[in-house]
Symmetry: C2
Subunit: 414 residues, 2 copies
């Protein structure tokens, strides 16, 4: 395959987002359902925005959702997006999206006709740059390309009486997924030439390219995560998958106090069994949020901060301030767990810590940072300390994986 | 359709559970992956055990999982199950499962050949009695029947060069799902007559019935929840769907103290917005676990118990004891939230409550009951109380929906 560098590609994307969400059984179209605090479509847009060689992203929505979509683009700060109104059917919507690249001038927009156009569903949020690049490059070579997957179920044809007519041999067929990519002129000409019947009842862009532009699309095996969010269970799956991804990295921050270092070290050992990548740094090792992000190449969404004193929030406050000002918090909620060491059998009230953490958590929430507290009983007895740390690690893991805003500001105890 | 009462049906089920879980990317076959504390297959078995007219359930596993499966059946107390070893392929495994009904005698088992046999995948946990009855009754009438679903993706055929050959018109085809049902002799004869190629590479029982027993299966539109747990995301979806179902009902238990009743009433009002069915009863209204279960026809998995004093656990203990002894706790984790009222600005230590709840929670865990604590500040000021109750309701909802054992014994505060 022609593995030309992406830099030389002039590509754009059209994202049909006109679905009505009937199959979800809800009234909200699925692309606008909330997943981890943001509409599902925002997660898809972010996947495209990360890909620098895709110059323009055209989102096609039903007319009744035009304002909603524009609000979403503004509210969540999406870039390179043009929102247009679609047609009655999927094909009519995609066609409307394509026309924007030719009408660009008349809209006063700077959109230019691309060499390659990628078509992708708004309800397939987990599309990676790798498969986008593969379909784009194949489209340049073959004129059209699309991702496919093995069939999960056997496909059968029904007789008019609702009985089995015949079944297809599963291994000979594939499910056609997204993304697909086309040389712009090939798919545009196909849409110009196709019939009203195609526009009304067709579902497959690759078919139009074959039928009306005589172009046999290259089929590429895509990853399983390309699946289309169709049912309510798919929304659950999407949220869990994002949470899983956000829970891969954890940064433990300790000060140089001996007890804090000991607890930090033991937490590190324990948490390695629950979380893929755990790193510990001392307070003095970071000055800016960049220092923190460098640790995990910007992939860290979870921090624990070990304060020595029960009532001391200073170090957690410093961390939260850094994260707030670092503007790394726009898309996904960050988790900060403020750990405080306490001595065994001490019944000193933690009212002060409690109030402090709740106030901090309330403020931090505005910047999409979820702050929780954790009191760990610090014992000189090694096995008792180990027990507390072990239980604390389970709680930390749960807070990170669950990422539930209802519990923010709460103080857990072990 | 012949809607004969299920009582007159002599039906049995064969559940192929021999899959290797390759597509999940893990080493554990998906039917044995843990979902809410139990292997996925347990959830499927429970769906079948609920259906009284299915007399026998034959589970077919790979030989290396025979002991594991027998252990699971014992550990989780499954009934009417026979575990047998399968073959190299899906069809060979199902055939082995069917043979059990004829070899029943030689195994010293009481299994009898059924009139109708239902075939269902172990990795489709959400099968309801309604669709099982539909396929069974249709099988009696037509000889064979199976659940189908609309195709989510267009199905395409690939050329030898990996390019699009043609696409199928989506509306004309269906995905063949499970359950399927057959007159026993029809499917058994089909397996006897089919070729080695069928046994090695075939995927569709309905096809065998058509080809070798000349029986056109009736196709029935199934619900979306019949889908097959195939990828990791499907495990997430399954777990979330079960949690969602367990979170439908909540029972609030208060004593007759004025403050407790007031808080109970306000919680009731607030929680109705988060949880479909909320009922409040007073302590004196129940003596046995049956009294509690009657409230929601045995469907209640969530309880909150309002204790007046901060340190008083008596009423929560009584509830937990009842639930333990009532043996309602075998399959899904129950949630019990122990609510304690506290006065504003009181910094009295809650060490006592804390220790009490943690001990209670530790004990209750053994019976699959998750106990959490919640301190609500009781204020005479109506709006401040309302604020606490509102925040408390969010926490209660989160604890119920998240159902996370790592947080048990923790005390939340509002």
């Amino acid at each position: 395959m022609d593995r030309a560098p992406a830099g030389s590609l002039h590509a754009a994307a059209v994202l049909p987002a006109g679905g009505s969400g009937e199959r979800l059984g809800g009234s909200i179209p699925k692309q606008f359902c909330t997943v981890l605090g943001r509409p599902l479509i925002c997660h898809t847009l972010e996947s495209f925005e990360r890909v620098t060689w895709i110059k323009d992203i055209v989102v096609v929505v039903a007319s009744e959702n035009l304002d909603l979509m524009k609000t979403i683009v503004n509210k969540y700060g999406h870039k390179r997006i043009t929102v247009v109104v679609g047609g009655e059917t999927r094909h009519r919507s995609i066609f409307n999206g394509l026309k924007v690249f030719l009408d660009g001038q008349s809209l006063g927009s700077v959109i230019q006709k691309p060499e390659v156009v990628i078509i992708h569903d708004a309800v397939r949020p987990f599309v990676e740059e790798d498969i986008l690049l593969q379909v784009a490059i194949s489209a340049r070579q073959y004129g059209a390309a699309g991702a496919v997957r093995p069939l999960v179920s056997t496909v059968i044809a029904s007789s008019p009486e609702g009985c089995l007519d015949h079944s297809l041999e599963r291994a000979k067929y594939r499910a056609s997924e997204m993304p697909q990519a086309f040389l712009f002129d090939i798919i545009y000409q196909a849409y110009l030439k196709c019939t009203e019947y195609d526009l009304d009842f067709g579902t497959e862009c690759l078919h139009l390219a074959l039928e009306y532009s005589n172009t046999k699309a290259k089929l590429l095996e895509g990853p399983p995560d390309l699946w289309k969010v169709t049912y309510k269970r798919d929304l659950y799956a999407a949220e869990s998958m994002i949470k899983e991804r956000l829970s891969q990295h954890l940064c433990i921050i300790t000060n140089i106090n001996e007890e804090a270092i000991e607890v930090g070290f033991q937490l590190h050992e324990n948490l390695k069994h629950h979380i893929s990548h755990v790193k510990a740094i001392s307070l003095s090792m970071y000055k800016t949020v960049q220092d923190l992000q460098n640790i995990f190449h910007g992939e860290c969404y979870n921090f624990i901060c070990i304060n020595v004193k029960e009532s001391d929030l200073e170090e957690t406050c410093k961390l939260v301030d850094l994260l707030k000002n670092g503007k790394v918090t726009t898309s996904y909620p960050l988790v900060v767990i403020s750990i405080h060491l306490t001595v065994p059998n001490c019944c000193s009230s933690d009212t002060q810590t409690l109030t402090g953490i709740r106030q901090l958590a309330k403020e931090a929430k505005k910047s999409n940072i979820l702050v929780y507290g954790l009191l760990i009983t610090y014992s000189k007895d090694a096995s008792r300390l180990q027990e507390s740390v072990c239980e604390g690690s389970s709680i930390i893991t749960a807070l990170i994986k669950v990422r539930n805003p209802a519990l923010l500001g709460q103080i857990m105890t072990v």
